[in-house]
Amino acid sequence: MKRDVNFILNGRPVTLSVEPRTTLLRALREYGVTSVKRGCEEGECGTCTLVIDDLAQKSCMVLALEVEGKSVLTVEGLVAPNGDLHPLQQAFVEEGAIQCGFCTPGMIMTAYAFLRKNPDPTEAEVREALAGNLCRCTGYIPIFRAVMKAAKTMRELGSHPGAAR
């Protein structure tokens, strides 16, 4: 039996009709938000990571019904209304932190939630923060560079884009 779940998706209120057993990952993908990737559906890889009320979560490990009344942010939601990339997205592009791109949305969302809490991290802290997101292509090295660079850009901007959501 399907039930409705109401939440804020990338700043817009939405209502999805889902089976109680449907994960947030499958519900969002079905709805058309496919930036959340299914790399394992077992909570191991991090490709499905999104941010729920400021906390990075693996959406394959969350039931869709659990986000009732919450705010869900995916990587599409980081893009500014004028189309500009978020500093994290920009830094990932500039630093070569993307190869196949399958881990990228999840990786960026983990980094996003992390930088909200720790805007001036050391590289060691970045490594630790990303430990739940696998990347097989890049060897993570350019990802560290990108997160450090984005952190700096955001500190200089004195703001954290996307925070309003």
């Binding site: 993908r29 058309g32 496919t34 930036s35 959340v36 990737k37 299914r38 790399g39 394992c40 559906e41 077992e42 191991e44 890889c45 490709t47 995916t74 990587v75 599409e76 980081l78 893009v79 990339l85 997205q89 920009q90 990932f92 592009v93 500039e94 070569g96 993307i98 190869q99 196949c100 791109g101 399958f102 881990c103 990228t104 949305p105 960026i108 970045v126 490594r127 630790e128 990303l130 430990a131 739940g132 997101n133 696998l134 990347c135 097989r136 292509c137 890049t138 060897g139 993570y140 090295i141 350019p142 990802i143 560290f144």
Partner: protein, 805 residues
């Protein structure tokens, strides 16, 4: 005179094509495509037996599940597929050969119903004895994995042995090894083994197939590295004409060889071509825990290497025995066996060579292409044996390597002269940057530190006639479209091609687009494998862009009444100084120029280019000799600095330096990415990766919980990636491949570093914490070597090696 000027041409550091879409999450991968409510979903029911006759399959309960449309079994779809050897059916027919082999395919209206149906299928089996040990399988024919081997078709350059489990036997015979050993001052004989490992790409295989009801035409959307090879394998297996099959390859989330050739597509077709289903699209998404059971992994191997060395430290003879455990299929795995064989003197010149390289069937999931293609296996053994040999004869391991190095012009083991390279410069830089000749104290309290080194080499492993072609279209606004059927799976092919087109056309890179492969629109390319694309397809793209430029210049020359040589294209502006002209490329290149003659001339500008290596000769089947066995070799080296906690066996990599002679960096951002990424993948393989089975052949490590790959916490503190540029003669810009090479030698370099740190030699990969801890304990008991081979009771290295004489 160069007639084009551009900022982001060949050699420029530029950002990558499609990264913007990837960063915002809008690039659609195969699983992201939508097909509407007609779409059906498939899920495989799998064998629980390693080797058994199928007595019966009961699908009646599955058919009762709401939403299940059909359950297809092997007898419904008997077609053999394979790239080099047609030994694979998508569903088991009559017999199962490994635990996890697809036995039936449940097709249903939803993914959930397919899963439920799969759980309701049952099968009865009659047990057959399985064989898991490749040495036993190769030497004792009491259990045959493929008694029908004789009937399988194969390409001429592989040599299966019907009546045995040997799917391919590659040989090198040069000189007289026995005489050379007898005359040698030193003889060193050592062995190394390594279990199967997996690609670990983050996007599982996914495929949608549809048979058009009235025409029988097939459309396949798939996570495929090689749209054209896939089409050919399917066409051959089905007996279909090529043009009846269209393959669309959306972006893929990592391949590393695991999505080359044909992987899961035939299994999906078993559903989509069923008489009760055809007309509707069928989707087969492989759940993570079934990925290693559905397509290939990297073969396990046991390598035994014997070296004869003279009083000066020159290697005079080598005898190699390589057993590759190819599981139940060698359709692709037959070729890495050959690739290791024809590179089997490594980076060294050795006059007398004897090599036997075998692909051996066992009752396990099967082996195939994986980044490095036989060379991480070869080097994983060879670079360790070289290290051991140097220490045994009292020579510094790096001096020993330099003394025997395969210098430019010397014959490789197949007899072809080695191409130009500057491996000695690379060695020098790594020795210097890693302070390899200095002992340094550990940084962590109570730990021990060691340094290790290994060389790497690899040629593109492909048939002699692997070709490429490309089309370059100039659009009516000066934009450019490049059709090159390489899969850009992250390696950055489209950025490199855009840089090539920009270089040749003088058009800014922002105006150049490359599209993902579709056999209906793109011209042919053999495969996206072998680190061949930027070289082979690079030739085709360069030729196509040059062709387009010449056509464009000829038209402007006629239009302006001048010689083509007086015209330049600078940042998209066509100029002729002599005539005082400077105009942006416009719609005339599409619609034609209204010439001074009063007539329209031209029309859309389309450049085309093709390439096939002109002079490769397959090695002689008896001796392995060939005047040109491969197109070229890329060489390189890796130095590592590790620390070990003697209390726990924990290993930390402080620093790595990895350098390759790539001829020319067409796209430096991507070269760096390939070296950094491959180095970490190589470290991951060396330190933590292995597929383990229980005694019945059931895979114990199917997903990322049990099959560990490197996380951000496993990345060395410092990774120094660099390259040298000694140009290749036959090459678009002097470039050679590098994408696989970075994965080849981190593992043996770590192995050598661990010996340096611990003073005991580990002969079995991976060399992670558990095994290192064991080694430390064995050392305390006075052992000098440790060897762990899952299929033998005897785990003493000395006895184990003796056993196979």
């Amino acid at each position: 005179m160069k007639q084009t000027v551009t900022r982001n041409g060949v050699g420029a550091w530029t950002t990558r094509k499609y990264d913007h879409e990837k960063a915002v999450g809008t690039l659609a991968f195969t699983d992201d495509l939508r097909f509407g409510p007609e779409l059906l979903h498939a899920r495989a029911f799998r064998s629980t037996k390693a080797h058994a006759e199928i007595v019966s399959i009961d699908v009646s309960e599955a058919m009762k599940v709401k939403g299940v449309v059909k359950v297809v079994v092997g007898e419904n779809f008997v077609h053999r597929f394979g790239l080099y050897l047609h030994d694979r059916t998508p569903l088991a027919v009559g017999k199962v050969r490994y635990v996890g082999e697809p036995v039936a395919l449940v097709v249903a209206e939803t993914e959930e119903a397919a899963e439920e149906g799969m759980l309701k299928v049952t099968a009865k089996y009659r047990d057959l004895p399985p064989v898991f040990d490749p040495i036993k399988a190769a030497t004792d024919n009491s259990v045959l994995v493929h008694p029908e081997l004789e009937t399988y078709e194969h390409v001429p350059f592989i040599t299966p042995f019907p009546g045995t489990n040997i799917a391919n036997w590659f040989r090198i015979r040069r000189g007289d090894v026995e005489k050379a050993f007898a005359e040698s001052k030193y003889v060193v004989e050592e062995a190394v083994n390594c279990p199967q490992i997996a690609h670990g790409f983050l996007e599982p295989h996914c495929c949608i197939c549809k048979e058009e009801l009235s025409t029988g035409n097939l459309t396949i959307w798939s996570t495929a590295q090689s749209a054209f090879a896939l089409r050919e394998i399917i066409a051959t297996g089905l007996g279909y004409p090529l043009a009846k099959i269209r393959v669309i390859a959306p972006p893929i989330g990592g391949g590393f060889g695991g999505k080359a050739g044909m992987t899961v597509e035939a299994l999906c077709l078993a559903g989509a071509m069923d008489p009760d289903i055809k007309g509707r699209p069928v989707k087969l998404y492989i759940p993570r825990e079934e990925v290693m059971l559905t397509s290939w992994v990297r073969q396990a191997y046991i390598a035994k290497i014997k070296l004869g060395i003279d009083a000066d430290g020159k290697i005079t003879a080598i005898k190699n025995n390589f057993y590759f455990d190819t599981g139940i299929s060698a359709e692709y795995g037959a070729n890495p066996v050959r690739s290791a064989g024809y590179s089997s003197t490594g980076c060294y010149y050795i006059p007398n060579v004897w090599t036997d390289s075998y692909a051996v069937y066992t009752n396990k999931p099967f082996g195939g292409a994986y980044r490095g293609f036989g060379l991480p296996e070869l080097m994983g053994a060879m670079e360790v044996v070289i290290d051991i040999a140097a220490r045994k004869i009292g020579m510094d391991p790096i001096e020993f390597r330099l003394k025997n190095m395969l210098r430019t012009g010397l014959p490789t083991c197949t007899g072809m002269p080695m191409n130009a390279h500057s491996l000695d410069t690379i060695v020098e830089k790594i020795v210097d940057r890693m302070k390899l000749k200095e002992k340094e104290p550990a940084k962590r309290k109570g730990w021990v530190r060691g340094k290790g080194f290994a060389l790497a080499l690899k040629a593109p492993a492909m048939p002699a006639d692997a070709s490429s072609s490309a089309i370059v279209k100039i659009l009516g606004d000066g934009g450019v479209e490049v059709l090159a059927a390489t899969m850009d799976m992250g390696q950055g092919a489209y950025t490199a091609y855009a840089q090539i087109a920009s270089e040749e056309l003088g058009i800014p890179i922002e105006k150049i687009r490359c599209y993902y492969p579709d056999t209906q629109s793109h011209p042919y390319d053999w495969q996206t494998v072998a680190s061949r694309s930027c070289w082979s397809m690079g030739m085709a793209v360069k030729r196509a862009a040059t062709d387009a430029r010449e056509k464009l210049l000829a038209l402007y020359a006629e239009f302006w009444q001048t010689d083509p040589e007086t015209i330049t294209i600078e940042h998209g502006i066509v100029k002729c100084k002599a005539k005082g002209k400077a105009e942006p490329i416009d719609v005339q290149v599409q619609n034609g120029f209204f010439m001074p003659s009063g007539k329209f001339v031209g029309g859309p500008i389309i450049g085309s280019g093709t390439f096939v290596p002109p002079d490769v000769v397959n090695p002689d089947p008896e001796t392995g000799q060939s005047p040109k066995s491969v197109v070229h070799f890329t060489v390189g080296a890796v130095g590592v600095d590790v620390e070990v906690d003697p209390a726990t066996g924990a290993v930390e990599v402080n620093k790595v330096s990895a350098g390759y002679d790539i001829g020319k960096a067409v796209s430096p951002m991507n070269v760096r990415g390939q070296i950094e990424g491959g180095t970490v993948q190589g470290i991951s393989a060396g330190l933590m990766e292995a597929m383990y089975y229980d005694e019945h052949g059931k895979l114990l490590t199917p997903d990322f919980t049990d099959y560990k790959i490197a996380t951000s916490m496993d990345v060395p503190g410092e990774v120094d990636a660099f390259w040298e540029e000694t140009p290749e003669e036959l090459s678009p810009y002097g470039n050679r491949g590098v994408a696989e090479h970075s994965m080849i030698s981190p593992a043996p370099a770590i192995n050598n570093a661990l010996f340096d740190a611990l003073g005991i030699r580990i002969h079995t990969y991976p060399t992670g914490r558990e095994r290192v801890y064991k080694a430390i304990q064995e050392k305390k008991r006075g052992e000098t070597d440790i060897w762990e081979y899952p299929y033998a009771l005897e785990q003493s290295y000395k006895n184990a090696v003796k056993e196979w004489k």
